[in-house]
């Protein structure tokens, strides 16, 4: 122990190899990136609510993008591209896998640290480098990447159509891929090799099953993304033609490319990015599966079903990528295949939802802030999942593909799902991380405001999709058939501003509680898993002595016992 105490500030808090500090670094960074991504969305909502209206002070911030405060179409395209990229690559993935994966895995399996602490530090430091590379696009000639977070070539692959910002984007994503892979190697090794005595796989908390599955997905899928990005970079900079076919005419010039295939990119991209959507939801499902039993004071309903459904979702999730490509020109028979696999993946998803309901049933429910977020997660995720069924049906997808219906779907799964899951996780583990509790009444108000405004912004998107409004359009009033959506769009924008403003309450609660919150003690929620048996915050090395695990993770309300929770190491 004494050896650890001698570390200076820099080694202890900046270039730390302690998994807890690294987790907290990921947490802070990703929260900041998400706030930034949110601000980009506010600008988009401004343009959608009041197309062409001036925002004079924005001229100072973005003179080229908003001359005189009026947004130009190129800038709008940059905004949604960077919003999506920042939220997915630098917000949701790092907060779920990076922050919670790092913080929770060693604590919950009973290990003193990750298997490879130095690799872990590298994984963190690659992440701000990746983000800086992508965001540097805003400062180069022609501005940031503007071909969507999906970056379909030829649009993204040609110098003629996308400037150097797109190159930076692709390079940054490759660097982020390295970061993810290093993290994932660590998680897999730690879960397999560093479990405490008695911690069999079937005694692991569901959050660990989820983070473990996520890590395996990351390891298998990310190299494919990196390969795609590198081919795109080659097409852009060395004049190769991996994704670029012959005969393209841009601005009246016949381009010299030949032999490439535009939709090859889509296969490679979605081969990563569909598993990535599970990378973004499985951990959140895991947190909810830890939180529900704790605040229902009841064992989780169907532990094995929930654990194996995570694995099933991960496995089948590798076979559904082309459901993003039903209308891409790919062979329609392939469409059938991917419709079948997509319907299959909905089954384990349903099992999880029903099992959560089963956990609540006959519980003794405590409506704390983390519990509210967990319940909000279930309620919103259902909408996301059910709307996925429309999209899985190839003929119905033909109508909804690339409309606002898809935008609604992704926000119900990613904001309603992943982000409520992250809020649940933060409010639940905050006392462990910082030794202090967050303010409950503020937390609850923040939850209700977020829940309300989120639905006001996102639910109408299904209506817009039904009306055939395409996504990624700067000014929908160009279509006379969409002008009647003006009122709705304006309402959504106002709700979006309120949604963003509500997050200030969270930020304030977070920062205030960091310094002034009530002291938490070891186990403020009366929970059962290993992290609640060490001081808050846990010391370097985590456990004073290696825990010996005697039972499963959710032993609540065991008959004949005085207390309604039984720690994983507690003698009978």
């Amino acid at each position: 122990m004494s050896e650890h105490k001698r570390l200076g500030f820099v080694r202890k808090y900046i270039f730390s190899t302690d998994h807890k500090i690294i987790g907290i670094q990921f947490l802070f960074s990703s929260l900041i990136f998400m706030a930034f991504g949110g601000l980009l969305a506010m600008l988009m909502r401004w343009q959608l609510g009041w197309p062409g209206a001036a925002l004079p002070w924005m001229e100072k911030v973005a003179p080229a993008g908003m001359p005189g405060g009026v947004m130009v179409p190129e800038y709008y395209n940059m905004l949604f591209t960077m919003h999506g990229s920042v939220m997915i690559f630098f917000g949701v993935i790092p907060i779920l896998a990076g922050a919670f994966g790092n913080y929770l895995i060693p604590l919950k399996v009973g290990a003193p640290d990750m298997a490879f602490p130095r690799l872990n530090m590298l994984s963190y430091w690659l992440f701000p480098i990746a983000a800086a590379t992508v965001l540097a696009g805003f400062f180069v000639e022609g501005g940031a990447a503007a071909s969507g977070w999906t970056a379909y070539p030829p649009l993204s692959g040609l110098k003629e159509t996308m400037g150097p910002g797109q190159t930076l984007w692709a390079a940054g994503v490759v660097v982020l891929g390295f970061s993810s892979i290093l993290g994932a190697v660590n998680y897999v090794a730690t879960v397999i090799n560093h479990r405490a005595p008695g911690m069999s796989f079937h005694r692991l908390p569901i959050s660990i099953w989820a983070l473990f599955t996520t890590a395996v997905l990351t390891l298998l899928a990310t190299p494919v993304l990196a390969a795609a990005m590198i081919l795109l970079l080659l097409d852009r900079s060395l004049g190769t033609s991996f994704f670029l076919p012959a005969g393209m005419i841009v601005d009246g010039n016949l381009l010299p490319h030949a032999g490439g295939q535009a939709i090859l990119w889509q296969h490679l991209f979605w081969f990563y990015s569909h598993p990535a959507v599970y990378i973004m939801i499985l951990p959140a499902m895991g947190f909810v599966s830890d939180i529900l039993p704790t605040f229902s004071r009841k064992p989780i309903f169907g532990y094995h079903a929930i654990a194996y459904s995570a694995v099933a979702i991960g496995a089948v999730g590798f076979l559904v990528w082309a459901h993003h490509m039903f209308q891409s020109g790919m062979n329609p028979t392939l469409g059938t295949t991917f419709m079948i696999s997509t319907m299959v993946v909905a089954v384990p998803t349903g099992v999880k939802v029903f099992s959560w309901l089963g956990t609540l049933w006959r519980g003794s429910i405590r409506l704390t802030t983390p519990m509210l977020h967990a319940l909000g997660f279930i309620s919103m995720f259902i909408i996301g999942g059910l709307t996925g069924i429309f999209l899985a049906s190839t003929p119905v997808d033909m109508y909804f593909h690339d409309t606002y219906f898809v935008v609604g779907h992704i926000h119900y799964v990613l904001f309603g799902g992943s982000l409520f899951g992250a809020f649940a996780g933060i409010t639940f583990w905050f006392p462990k991380m910082f030794g202090r509790r967050m303010n409950e009444p503020w937390g609850k108000i923040h939850f209700w405001l977020t829940f309300l405004f989120f639905n006001c912004v996102m639910f109408p998107m299904f209506s817009l999709g039904l009306g055939g409004m395409p996504r990624r359009i700067y000014d929908y009033t160009q279509y006379p058939g969409l002008v009647h959506f003006a009122g709705l769009n304006r309402m959504m924008s106002m709700a979006a501003f309120c949604l963003m403003a509500s997050q200030l309450l969270f930020a304030f609660n977070f920062l205030y509680s960091l310094f002034r919150g009530k002291k938490a003690g070891e186990n403020p929620w009366e929970a059962t898993t290993l992290e609640w048996e060490t001081p808050s915050p846990p010391p370097h090395g985590n456990f004073a002595k290696t825990p010996v695990v005697l039972r499963g993770p959710y032993e609540f309300s065991v008959p004949g016992r005085e207390r309604d929770w039984q720690l994983q190491t507690e003698e009978d």
């Binding site: 532990y303 020109g329 349903g350 119905v396």
Partner: protein, 219 residues
């Protein structure tokens, strides 16, 4: 609020699937949200009751795995029927009208083969952003792109098909109703994506022929 009125032979089929899925998902939506609310109210700890010590129930777990699986299987079968009808290649019949739509940043070039029925001959008829189709006659729309990916989307036809450079695609459709519709580009194609708008006019055969002749004369 709801789908715009359909104007092609496949629209009712797609709409029917949409409604079936809406009813099914609507049922599960209310079931799950209802249970969630009910359980939270009913089992709230303020009653001070102790939670049940239950780890699961094999029977219900099998039911809630198998029932959705069967429903999803049926949905897949129903969807596949419509999908096959929409997408499987059809022979070119004499009554079928052929038209080529060539997308470019940021316009739709429309071309008809003219009286000889052959493309790339001197009697081809071309227009920009104007697609006319006769009602009640099957049409084969050949979709191509000059530069980046675009997407041919006519909401009232319930049809969407990407226009991919280097990969010609096609759709079959048969308008059922005379009217004017918007052709919306549905795939991000650059800064003018939002204004890549075309117009589709469906009209009776005689009017269509008249339009073709006039367009040719004005070329």
């Amino acid at each position: 609020m709801l789908l715009p009125e359909g104007a092609s032979t496949i629209a009712p089929e797609v709409d029917r699937l949409f409604w079936i899925i809406l009813w099914i998902t609507g049922f599960f939506f209310f079931l799950v949200q209802g249970c969630l609310l009910l359980f939270v109210l009913k089992y709230h700890s303020r009653g001070g009751q102790k939670a049940a010590y239950v780890h699961g129930n094999a029977m219900v777990e099998v039911v809630w795995t198998v029932v959705p699986a069967v429903i999803l299987l049926l949905l897949t079968v129903a969807s596949q029927k419509v999908w096959a009808q929409i997408r499987s290649p059809r022979p070119i019949t004499p009554g079928m009208i052929q038209v080529e739509v060539l997308a470019e940043q940021f316009a739709w070039n429309v071309r008809y083969p003219g009286p000889d029925g052959q493309f790339d001959t001197s009697d081809d008829i071309t227009t920009i952003n104007q697609l006319h189709l006769p009602v009640g006659r099957p049409a084969l729309v050949r979709i191509r792109s000059k530069d980046v990916i675009h997407s041919f989307f006519v909401p009232q036809f319930r049809i969407k098909q990407d226009a991919v450079p280097g990969l010609p695609t096609q759709v079959w459709l048969e308008p059922t109703k005379a009217g004017e519709y918007e052709l919306r580009c549905a795939e991000l194609c650059g800064l003018g994506h939002y204004r890549m708008r075309g117009y589709v006019t469906t009209e009776p055969e005689e009017q269509f022929q008249k339009w073709l002749t006039e367009t040719k004369a004005n070329e």
